[in-house]
């Protein structure tokens, strides 16, 4: 594990010591190499986790998320090149340093063994993200967005700290490896109910759950492209990952405590999808679609069946890649028209057909077309929720329909129809942009061939 963490930390001196015209090249290349190292972790020989040390480990759940994180750093760097091109050199280096710091914390979070270290790093990821959103965002609302982001997440996670400390006192250790063997049923009492709530609320806010999701559209919309990418792809998955880890110790309360959250998620899934149909702002549409997909993950985690865990992990990885790609596409529109309104940049298929092809692929995976891994995730979740209760299929089915509708609505509005009259002075697609989209799509398509890797630890 140090093989990955130390090089990532070393990326920071790399940026500060590079020459002016080499900063992007150096950082992108080295972060790509680091991601190739992390791919070797995917080879999990046994059902137990791969333990590297007392502090870090990786198992079939965290390995795909880790690879996704390391894979996204070079993509984020490539995506940020354009909007940072006019900044002074020191600010560019600061930006890359922020991204790298975030990356380090994320890697350590996904591989943490102790829950307290997981918590500390979980909170630590907030700081670079906040700096990126508020310093390099584009509109004045970014300050408000940063505020919402920070305080929502803090309010949710402070109870988690209390809960973790109390569990440490009670059971003597918070090590993941030990907890698997220590696990006893929690007795049914009021304090245990609060314990359950305290543990889960942090992750519910992070996911986000439908009632607590207000920070997400603000943060996603105001963040610069790399911020949006990392937010959508990884930070939301931190919540899912945390939930998947912590629900192992929280039985049997989960069977009745989960009902209100399940109802909120099921309903919220449909509500946020419907809001997407009426959005005018492109990034906001993608943000709400993230909420909708994550609600599916929440439902899957709360049902706690082997199939639903598989669906949740597959959906997390698939959604990470798809959302990140959609944000990159939205950014390519933004860089040309400097506005996020969808109808200002329509009819793009006439002018930029290759980009239209990427738009098509991203929209198709967003609506979970077979045989992509998005479908596999969604299908597994739908199957397991059908077994939990037959009626949920109606809500899930409605969600699938509305998802298809808004994804294609997004596609049609930006690509098809008559183009605007002010469109003839936009720059053609850069190779960098096409490479970005290809690098997003290729893992998605390759994983469709062998989804075993991302199906998590209940396969």
């Amino acid at each position: 594990m140090l093989k990955i963490i130390i090089p990532t930390i070393m990326l920071m001196p790399l940026t500060w010591l590079s020459k002016k015209n080499m900063i992007w090249i150096n950082t992108t290349t080295y972060s790509l190499l680091i991601s190739l190292i992390s791919l070797s972790l995917l080879n999990q020989p046994s059902n137990n986790s791969l333990n590297f040390s007392l502090m870090f480990f990786s198992d079939p759940l965290s390995a795909p998320l880790l690879v996704l994180t390391t894979w996204l750093l070079p993509l984020m760097l490539m995506a940020s090149q354009h909007h940072l091109s006019k900044e002074p050199l020191i600010r560019k280096k600061l930006y890359i340093t922020m991204l790298t710091m975030l990356q380090t914390f994320l890697i350590m979070t996904f591989t943490a063994t102790e829950l307290i270290s997981f918590y500390i790093l979980f909170e630590a990821t907030l700081v670079p993200t906040l700096i990126i959103i508020t310093r390099w965002g584009n509109q004045t609302e970014r300050l408000n967005a940063g505020l919402y982001f920070l305080f929502y997440t803090l309010m949710g996670s402070l109870p988690l700290l209390v809960a973790l400390i109390s569990i440490q006192n009670l059971t003597g250790s918070l090590n993941f490896l030990l907890i698997q063997y220590w696990n006893q049923a929690l007795p049914d009492s009021w304090s245990n109910i609060f314990l359950w709530l305290a543990c889960m609320m942090a992750f519910m806010v992070k996911m986000p759950l439908y009632g607590l999701h207000l920070w997400l559209p603000k943060a996603h919309v105001e963040a610069p492209i790399a911020g949006s990418m990392v937010l959508a792809a990884i930070l939301l998955k931190l919540g899912g990952y945390g939930m998947l880890r912590i629900t192992t110790m929280l039985n049997p309360q989960t069977s009745f405590m989960a009902y209100p959250f399940l109802m909120l998620s099921l309903w919220g899934m449909i509500m946020t999808s419907s809001i997407c149909l009426r959005q005018t702002d492109l990034k906001s549409l993608i943000a709400y679609s993230s909420v909708s997909h994550m609600a599916l993950v929440i439902v899957a985690v709360l049902i706690q069946t082997p199939w639903s865990y598989m669906g949740a992990t597959a959906l997390m990885i698939a959604h990470g890649l798809t959302s990140s790609m959609l944000f990159c596409l939205a950014n390519s529109n933004y860089e040309r028209t400097h506005s996020r309104t969808m109808i200002l940049a329509r009819g793009l298929q006439t002018l930029l057909p290759l980009m239209a092809a990427w738009w098509l692929l991203a929209s198709l995976t967003n609506l979970a077309l077979p045989p992509s891994i998005n479908l596999i995730g969604e299908l597994f979740v739908v199957m397991s929720s059908f077994s939990w209760s037959n009626i949920t299929i109606i809500l899930m089915g409605a969600n699938i329909t509305i998802t298809a509708l808004y994804s294609l609505y997004m596609l049609i509005t930006t690509q098809r129809g008559k183009y605007t009259h002010h469109i003839n002075n936009i720059k053609p697609s850069f190779t960098r942009e096409n490479a970005l989209m290809a690098l997003h799509m290729t893992p998605l398509l390759l994983l469709s061939l062998n989804p075993k890797i991302i199906l998590g630890f209940t396969y």
């Binding site: 009819g347 298929q349 006439t350 098509l360 198709l364 077309l369 077979p370 045989p371 479908l375 299908l379 739908v382 199957m383 059908f386 077994s387 037959n390 299929i393 109606i394 899930m396 089915g397 409605a398 699938i400 329909t401 298809a404 509708l405 294609l408 609505y409 049609i412 690509q415 098809r416 129809g417 008559k418």
Partner: protein
């Protein structure tokens, strides 16, 4: 699962092809409409998949048939919903006429012969399960009957040649669903195969007419093509005759058998009556096309380049023509 992949795949291809002329707003909305109705049907498909997974532990058709579960109402309802969405049965039907925004070869391939029969094909594949479930059979029968009557009546009042043929497709699909409802899946499959020939040919002929009249699709503005486009006229007439089931052309072998079986089987009399009326209406609207498009005096603009000299078009129509006449004979012997 593989069936689902293909199922969704054709849905998306339908979206892409209907919206082929993407500069045109109507085409885009029609494409989106197609996806909407298809997706609603897909919910049914997924529900059936979920039920099968949890009651028979498999998605494999052979295993499901071997296990022969009781109480198959829920999944078969799901499959019926899927077929309704995909094959434009009554309730999820509006996308098929709107899908005529696509180019004519698209309509010929997707929306007359192959894709729309995917729904019927699904029901045929699951017929061992449907044999045992009388409720579902009655439901399919009534659904099919309503569809064929409703769309046949709609076809009578249309003025756009492609829409008439689209409604006729919908009506024939209803007929296929009726056949499944009377527990004759093999006949339904036969009708799929034979219907493909003459419907595709009808679409191609209409495409030839539209193209040579400079994109004029309204039959009130056509006329007198009998002398101007002899080959197209011939194929159109033969296609319509085959559609109505004139003896010894292709349609006879499947359609007439269906009508005979329906008449002699112990089935819902109301559905039977609706099917018979719809079949007679088939003759009516086919004759309407022939009358308006081919006979009479020309009603189009005088300066047109009517030609039939595109060899690709003519060869395709020629092959479909031979198929329309002889295929029924060859398949059933």
């Amino acid at each position: 699962f593989q069936l689902f992949i293909g199922w969704e795949g054709v849905g998306i291809m339908s979206f892409l092809l209907i919206g082929w002329w993407y500069g045109r707003t109507d085409a885009n909305t029609a494409a989106l409409q197609a996806i909407l109705y298809n997706r609603i049907g897909d919910i049914g498909f997924i529900m059936a998949m979920a039920w099968f997974l949890f009651n028979t532990n498999t998605w494999d058709l052979q295993q499901i048939f071997m296990l022969d579960p009781n109480l198959t109402n829920l999944p078969l309802l799901g499959l019926l919903l899927a077929a309704t969405g995909k094959s434009a049965q009554f309730g999820l039907h509006p996308w098929l006429p709107s899908a005529m925004e696509g180019p004519t070869p698209v309509s010929a391939l997707l929306h007359s012969s192959t894709m729309v029969v995917a729904g019927v094909f699904l029901l045929i594949r699951f017929h061992p399960l449907m044999e045992n479930n009388k409720t579902i059979q009655s439901l399919t029968l009534c659904l099919g009957a309503i569809t064929t009557l409703f769309t046949a009546i709609c076809a009578l009042t249309q003025n756009d040649i492609k829409k008439i043929i689209a409604f006729s497709t919908s009506s024939q699909l209803g007929l296929m669903i009726v056949t499944i409802g009377i527990n004759q899946p093999y006949l339904a499959f036969l009708h799929i195969c034979t219907h493909a020939f003459f419907k595709a040919m009808l679409f191609m002929c209409s495409g030839s007419i539209i193209h040579s009249l400079n994109d004029e699709q309204d039959i009130r503005k056509m006329g007198g093509l009998f002398n101007a486009m002899p080959f197209t006229t011939t194929s159109l007439i033969i296609g319509s005759l085959a559609l109505t089931g004139i003896p010894f052309l292709t349609g006879f072998y499947s359609k007439d058998l269906i009508i005979e079986t329906a008449n002699t089987s112990y089935t819902n009399a109301w559905a039977l009556l609706m099917t018979l009326i719809a079949t007679s209406l088939t003759a009516v609207y086919s004759t309407r096309i022939i009358f308006f498009a081919l006979l009479g005096q020309p009603r189009f603009l005088p300066l047109t380049s009517i030609n039939e000299n595109n060899p690709f078009l003519i060869n395709s129509i020629k092959r479909l023509l031979i198929g329309s006449i002889f295929a029924g004979f060859f398949i059933s012997n």
